[in-house]
């Protein structure tokens, strides 16, 4: 019928399409009949970042009911902030990387190595503390940059890259420091700048350390950058679908390198805060930082597949673990049981999250 090869191409070749001018233009509507739990689920589904906040509030409430004013005190509440500070900062770095569908197993190693560099440059070489801190921050950024280059240019899986550099940075840390601790008292006398984030101020019974404040500032800043700048959108796009991001005009390699470098810098900052927290410079610190940061991030609802989640969620995740650990300890739970219950908490929190995100029960 339709050998329209010699057609004049300005008229439609397939005239059955002419009827399309009458096609319906309304959007389909279907009746709704939903249970309460389905409605709640739908609400949370549309605002997934609310989920960890919810869990956090629930946890505080439950422990508050069990423990009463001891737990519900400004003291205990701000103590949690202090205890979560390091995890919160490293989890921010980890979130950035995980949003790009990566993972950074070297956060703890970068943190402790940077703190050692700050301390050793001050004490071994007699460089002013401020400059040593800057050098330490630079070293952290450099370590992150190395991860970034291996991921973006050599195109190795982030898990493997950071599995390797974790061991490399940690060993370098021990070799460089000769396993020597710099004591808190010496630092206090000669280089108090190093301990800056350990200092605190009080508002009523609440004790805020500068470190806890710094953590909140970092989280708020990153939250702003991620959702209100082009760079932030690019971070999500890279994690969502790297090839699509590349094709739609994102400089994927640059973005990845920047993310890993920034992650390294933030970890180095965590290293500085660590000196404030423990007073001294100790190369054996931060051994659990990786696992704690990743735990905070996943409990906070950030997807390990990239592109989904928020830095506020990660902070909430860290706080949930903090509330749990302190609460359980205050109840008098044995450390081993605490450990076990936190394992269960991880699975439980993510199950809830999954249930909500699915939209189907």
């Amino acid at each position: 019928m339709s050998d329209t090869g010699t057609a004049n191409q300005n008229s439609s070749n397939q005239s059955y399409e002419d009827v399309l001018k009458d096609a319906a233009t309304t959007v389909a509507e279907f009746e709704e009949d939903e249970s309460f739990s389905r409605k709640l689920q739908n609400w949370l589904h549309s605002t997934p970042s609310a989920v960890p906040m919810f869990v956090l509030l629930a946890a505080i409430l439950v422990f508050g009911l069990i423990l009463g004013s001891k737990f519900f005190s400004p003291f205990a509440m701000t103590l949690i902030l202090q205890q979560v500070m390091i995890v919160g900062i490293t989890a921010s770095a980890q979130t950035l990387v995980i949003l790009t569908a990566g993972i950074d197993l070297s956060v703890g190693a970068i943190m402790v190595f940077s703190s050692v560099i700050m301390g050793q440059f001050t004490f071994r070489y007699g460089i002013p503390a401020e400059i040593s801190v800057a050098i330490g921050l630079g070293a952290g950024a450099l370590m992150g940059f190395i991860n970034g280059v291996l991921v973006a240019y050599v195109k190795l899986p982030p898990f493997i890259v950071t599995l390797g550099t974790w061991q490399i940075f940690l060993a370098a840390n021990f070799l460089y420091s000769a396993n020597e601790t710099i004591r808190a008292q010496e630092i206090e006398e000669q280089a108090p700048t190093l301990q800056l984030f350990g200092e605190s101020f009080r508002i009523g019974g609440a004790v805020f350390t500068y470190g806890a404040v710094a953590m909140i500032v970092i989280v708020v800043l990153l939250a702003y950058v991620l959702s209100n700048t082009a760079w932030g959108r690019h971070v999500y796009a890279v994690g969502d679908d790297q090839e699509a991001a590349e094709l739609s005009g994102v400089k994927v390699k640059n973005t990845l390198i920047q993310v890993y470098t920034l992650s390294g810098l933030i970890c180095a900052f965590a290293g500085w805060a660590l000196i404030g927290r423990i007073g001294s410079v100790s190369p054996t610190s931060g051994q659990n930082a990786n696992i704690e940061a990743i735990t905070a991030v996943v409990i906070g609802g950030v997807s390990l597949f990239g592109g989904r989640g928020s830095i506020l969620g990660a902070l909430a995740g860290g706080l949930i673990v903090g509330v749990f650990s302190l609460g359980l300890r205050m109840i008098g739970t044995d450390p081993q049981w605490t450990y076990l219950l936190i394992g269960a908490l991880i699975i439980f929190a993510v199950t809830v999250d999954q249930w909500i995100r699915k939209g189907t029960a």
């Binding site: 003291f75 396993n179 423990i278 007073g279 054996t284 610190s285 051994q287 205050m330």
Partner: protein, 316 residues
Amino acid sequence: ADFGACLITKTDTNPFFVKMKEGATAKAEELGITLKSYAGKIDGDHEAQVTAIETCIADGAKGILITPADTSSIVSSVQKARDAGLLVIALDTPLEPIDAADATFATDNFIAGELIGKWAAASLGDEAANAKIAMLDLAVSQPTVGVLRDQGFMQGFGIDLKDPKKWGDEDDPRIVGHDVTAGNEEGGRKAMENLLAKDPFINVVYTINEPAAAGAYEALKALGREKEVLIVSVDGGCPGVANVADGVIGATSQQYPLLMASKGIEAIKAWADTGAKPEVTPGKDFFDTGVKLITDQPVDGVESIDSKAGAELCWG
């Protein structure tokens, strides 16, 4: 006599073992022995020690100095080494049974704990009956050093131990609780905070080692309570002794890793030269390298030296 020997420590990140290695290396050089050192990745990593023992056998070493990461788990491997003709000396921590090694140069960790327990009780005097004690231990896996020191402290303080092979089963109300520190400052601070949140009136703190004590001190300082609390610890490393002088730590039990190491190397040399095995301390089944209590607030009935004397003997 040019031959090889091995030093196998629990880790190579704890200054205690770093110094032990330095001491052993220096002595070995002096005596013309080639020393190779091995270590576990973390405290308690006894599988790495097994691997290290095998390497020493394959390598044709004459003797092994080892700080067992697990008192019984490496006994079979030690036996293999001895069967292969190597002299095996346990340092720091005895094997179980103690005669599984050819000789042992060690601190008695239980006694180390007992000394600081006695000191703390005596310092408090009558108040000891109302003490509120925080126990800052090593790890949830309850490695033996930690258990021995913890239980030794309780014994010295006058607390019913129940099962002396584990901590946490005591019911003395003076104990506020146990928490774990991983033996570093970070863990020490967090564990101290946790226990303070449970009971803010803690006035005695036992710590597994001096880094953990330093961390605990930071937590107390944040509350302004550092002057009202007695912190006791074990090790006697130079930073620890300095902390005694600065009043951070009330008393610490000092050990002598360099002595253990050099004694060990000498023993291997002697054995290689003459076939003689080292002697034990009279009345004990091992050579006790000794432990001294270091404090600037001596009490009656507990022998001690001050921090100045301790600083001359310290090891890191």
